[in-house]
Point group: C2
Chain length 121, copies 2
DNA sequence: CTATCATATGAACATATGTTCAACTGTTTG
DNA sequence: CAAACAGTTGAACATATGTTCATATGATAG
């Protein structure tokens, strides 16, 4: 029978069992880590960032967004779906148009924080 | 000659030329938007989040990280490279081992903010 | 120098992601 | 109802991404 840990255990290596224990405790909640990375993934595409910044100036309909970004309305719609799935934006229908807006100020804060980080580096 | 904007202009549609102009101004700096999304992409994988949280407990060598996360040292090393490329972690060699640590408290802050966001939703 | 250990890296692979294209809803207008 | 318009969606496609495997590098011990 093969040692179950043989693929990543380095018997002779770990000089710091204490720090391993602390680290294990810090990363034990894998579902939460997944949720955190999923949250960040929403912001990991420049088209979505641009949509969020556009909506930061106020509510917009899909065709206005696509006009402002110079991209097809289909591409924008697909990305709006992702943002909607992540509860980053809200939508409201008004006749033929659908208007999107940031779902709360928290989104604005996240993007602003990142922008500042980028600029200060 | 084909209209250059024909792929995304919806001549009859945009009811709000003013909001389009505001939005265009907000998203004009495409390089910065790319930098922002690249920054977020660093945090968009759960393995990298777990590495960052592990390092949040203190400096660790690669084999300790792989032991703590239960993943191969190769996979960890590849991700550390990404994190190093994004200046999120620093490395220091001590004999045969290489010790990694968070490059500054800002990283800790980013992850903590996201964690709070996830928990409050 | 040789062997060994810790880490890094490149190639290969499977999966995920973003855009396009075409087709489909749903709403308004005639 | 039919036509036109705004938006959505699914399939197809190309590219990006993460892990594995094998191998390379760098440091230390013998």
């Amino acid at each position: 029978m093969i040692d179950e840990e043989s693929q990543f255990a380095h018997e002779g290596c770990p000089p710091h069992p204490l720090s391993i224990e602390k680290a294990k405790a810090a990363v034990e909640n894998e579902d939460e880590m997944q949720a955190i990375s999923d949250f960040f993934r929403l912001f990991s595409d420049s088209t979505r960032i641009r949509i969020l910044l556009a909506l930061g100036t106020g509510e917009m309909c899909v065709c206005d967004i696509s006009e402002a970004l110079g991209m097809t309305q289909s591409a924008i719609s697909h990305q709006l779906r992702v943002l909607r799935g992540g509860n980053l934006v809200r939508s409201r229908r008004d006749g033929k148009s659908v208007f999107y807006s940031l779902s709360d100020d928290h989104v604005r804060t996240v993007v602003r924080t990142a922008t500042e980080h980028i600029r200060e580096v």
